[in-house]
Symmetry: D2
Subunit: 343 residues, 4 copies
């Protein structure tokens, strides 16, 4: 790509947290010109009035719909589940698309409809989609026109399991105890994010039924012929941002922590955004960044992997831009070295 | 009152936070038999299912409306603003009532209608109401049939100002910088209590226009012929519970901190629930209790009073029960020695 | 016990959080007269100055040491790990004792010394101790003179596992993913409880090595001949209070959620403080109370039990008083119906 | 400045929060080459191990002391109060310096010694220092070699008062009710930042005596011949980051909110980092950024100004870099468009 030409980008659905984070990244991406951002209720308003963090940093307004997609290189879809499938089939063939919703992640229509509780109306488009977990799918993503960006829980879980599964080291069921911050519930106020209650809460939800389970299993099959049982449980944390997954696996033979670490180091040699840490990662150190921090413990055949990321960045908007970078031949870290803070 | 006979009590509006706290207190009050608790959407459900803290502690269910008020001694009204005025005029003359809303606090209809933005339909009942700030109005409350329980901000502010105003020590405007926890917004989820945002927020709201201002001024006139200007500002804190008021006053002559303290100690000699502290109070030490902690600083003629209480207890349900105790000749602390926790 | 005579009680170590919670309960226990409370650095100070929640509620001062133990019925030891073993051997034979530390929980000296990293100097006293998990050990506790009060993680885990283990229903390893609030680290400030960092943190610690593991395994052997592997992992939550344990077990045969629930309901029929809930428990609903809330999910042979309690109450001081009640023939709930709050 | 040459920069004191934020900014500043970062206890350790947010983003290690200052253009001093005065007198004349501590802010030695409770040993150096509040002192800063970077409370207060004072519009005392997040207490754990207590706390501290008061008054005199009384009160908020100042002033004549706004808009016309907002600002929208958001309310002669900023950025490290930019002829926003997040 020549440096003179900037990618012309549009965002469908810019008023939620996914859109908010796409804006935070794309407005300052050196190779991007942001052409339009849609929003429904907020159409017409300045972006900086809705996302007040961006006040003074952009003059763009939300629009109801783009005037044209003619000269657009790529669109991001940050719409509620079920809406991307209305948009994608109508996209011009020259427009690439990265969908942050769950609409196009699952290859099996019946599985989709069971977990998302609605009919799928665009399965023929689905066949064109590549699953956008950058670290396991990098080469396919570079060639893709359409990307299904992974779910936040799926990203944390898959990054913590892929090296073990790809090397066929596990036997028996794997237990994943996953926890998310309150921004995972979206930008709309709801009973489970009501501050007086949530600030002192910790609880489990959707036992055995979270919609990220089938995409995790589908990708594990792709990574390493996964056939074991996955026991996956989601919990709610009283923080704004962060996913923490504790992954309990059993190796076929005894492994030391160092052996596990070496395995991960090899697998993620080219992956800037995976950081292997000593001891446990902490969501505090990845908040607002595109990093996934991974730590380990081992005893006999028991392996525990801890995986921490920001649900809105590596678990959503950051990974989406990482995929855009790959599709357009840029270094995957371009515009994504979002620096975290201490504290 | 004979110990054998328990007060027969009803609650109108038991599903919000005011109702929740009334239940926490009244279910365990040694002189109370709780006869009914109404709720609109939750009617028919066990109380312990809605207020899950009470699970296992009561078998009562919410009802749509009481079957009869015949043998009821007293009702608490914990309804949204504007609904108590529909209930009170229809109460039998033998039923006493304590209203936690703002409906009957203001004696001036025009002032009410300006601040609550609705017509008042029961001003003739209002004339019978006594303002229920126990510490300034104890004797009148003992004789009252109808009590207008003070607002949470008003309670914190008035307790911090009453001794100074009653002794005519102040000159010039008084600035009150008041802060509240998120439970002050009620039990319904709303944009300003959405956890991902609220947990990192602090902001001012309703500058100069908070509806508690006229009740504060009305009561200050009653306490000590108040004629000065009150600059009153409300802010939102990222905690669940607590009001903290910083009150900046100017004395007519220089006063030391000790002189201020002595003045307050005299004024609150009979008031168990006002605790004078060294240095600043902290909302942490009054949370879940009926205490109002008060501290001071002074320099020359400048006096600062810090007042801290739990908005749902001393600022609402606790004070309401304190008033009930007085009305029925009980010690005002009965059932109200709710012990706080560390941490 | 005659109602006229109150139990004469002393507390060793009243300045920490365990002591703070013992005071909150025992000062208001109808059958208790609190005779002394020791503290080291705070000796001489009023209790209400150190635990400012108790300001106005007690006139007691901390003492360096009791003058005599002659007329004392029972002492609570809320000392740092390693100090109770200095006190217990010197107690008069007529004084009962309940130790909240880990000093006397483990019957195997080598295991103690490995996990607590210090020599044990009073193993002969240890032999007299009964493990104070009320719900699994009620009859033995009634006869005991010395009680080793369980650890907070151990309580949450054991209450979630006991019915399954006692009925010999499990096969294979059990994974326990446990999380605690920051008060679990004690009342002294430390790097891991520094607010600017902790408020946005979630992380794992002490993988495979937490000192509660051996007491859990010891008690599981007692409850049901446990021989399986326990994979136990502790994590830190950014709340003040609460333990939440997610327990992943595999039944020998398929079980429905209802079957699991019935099993627990039978096992805890006499246990007021265990509440079985629909869906997941939430630490929000047990905070400041002596309840342990338990919920379930099941799929095929996979069983997940969620257990939530307040680490300082059911996980420490509350359970200690529950045991005192049993030892002295009182109803085990006496003085312990500490009502939680909403919010 | 030619673009080819980067400024060679050193940091004294890189392990605290001021240092942490300087690193977050300077490591990615386009015109900066970071040459050394000192730390005492952490000397020898990789920066990314101490500030784990920077893991993977720098290979620098902390050093005990720089080998030489010969080719250094500028140093930042982020040392505890009282240590910069040991360093500054020994700096080579060609090295510029920006001190984040309070050592060189006050021109009156007696006032310094009263507020900082230690002797001042370098008052001759002090005479060379320029007070680094960019928005009120821009031209002087451009010419300065030594900068005393303002305190966080002082920055919030002065930015909220300067336009009013510079235009001589106020009469009578001004009340400033200021609140800070817990990171204002520094990176070391302490009792007042112990998470179990702090998360539910709000309290006042240092009434009338905060060390930022004299620097505020000194700069107000400089800005507009200030002679009135300042009533300044600091409070602690349970958030990690943020200063919020509520400033209560009285105008000589009545002013509308619009008139106040216009005044501020004129005064800050050239000041990118001051954003005037409708209604109240919120610390949530400035966290991690160099913005100071300001809002207003007015009634008669009463004016309230609300000022919100991040204590570690505009209140410390960000403003320090803003000053560095000015000193070296760069646009003052260079490297400082740190984008906040929603949520």
């Amino acid at each position: 790509m020549e440096k003179q030409h900037k990618l012309r980008i549009g965002i469908f659905g810019g008023s939620g947290y996914g859109g908010s984070e796409l804006l935070r990244i794309l407005l300052f991406h050196p190779n991007v010109e942001l052409v339009f951002v849609t929003a429904n209720e907020q159409a017409g308003k300045p972006i900086g009035e809705v996302h007040r963090n961006l006040n003074g940093l952009t003059h763009l307004n939300f629009v109801k719909a783009p005037e044209t997609l003619d000269a657009i290189d790529c669109v991001f879809l940050a719409l509620p589940h079920g809406q991307a499938m209305d948009v994608v089939p109508g996209l011009p063939a020259n427009v690439k698309a990265i969908d942050l919703s769950g609409d196009f992640r699952l290859r099996d229509q019946a599985v989709f409809e069971k977990h998302y509780k609605q009919p799928h109306t665009a399965m023929s488009s689905q066949a064109e989609f590549v699953y956008g977990l950058t670290e396991t799918n990098r080469e396919a993503i570079k060639q893709a026109r359409l990307i299904a960006n992974p779910g936040c829980f799926a990203t944390a879980t898959l990054l913590g399991m892929a090296p073990l599964v790809a090397n066929h080291l596990l036997s028996g069921r794997v237990v994943v105890d996953a926890k998310t911050g309150s921004s995972g519930s979206g930008a709309k106020a709801a009973a489970n994010t009501h501050h007086p209650q949530r600030m002192n809460s910790f609880y489990a939800y959707k036992p055995f039924t979270h919609q990220h389970v089938p995409e995790i299993e589908q990708e594990l099959e792709h990574v390493g012929d996964w056939t074991s049982e996955l026991v996956f449980m989601t919990h709610s944390l009283p923080v704004a941002r962060g996913i923490f997954a504790s992954i309990y696996a059993e190796a076929k033979e005894e492994m030391t922590e160092d052996e596990v670490r070496k395995l991960f180091a090899d697998y993620y040699r080219e992956s800037f955004f995976v950081r292997l840490v000593n001891g446990s990662p902490d969501i505090n150190w990845v908040k607002t960044t595109n990093f996934c921090d991974i730590g380990f413990a081992a005893r006999g055949r028991q392996i525990v992997v801890f995986s921490a990321l920001d649900n809105l960045v590596k678990g959503a908007a950051g990974q989406a831009v990482q995929n855009m970078n790959l599709i357009f031949g840029l270094d995957e870290t371009t515009g994504l070295k979002l620096v975290g803070t201490n504290p």
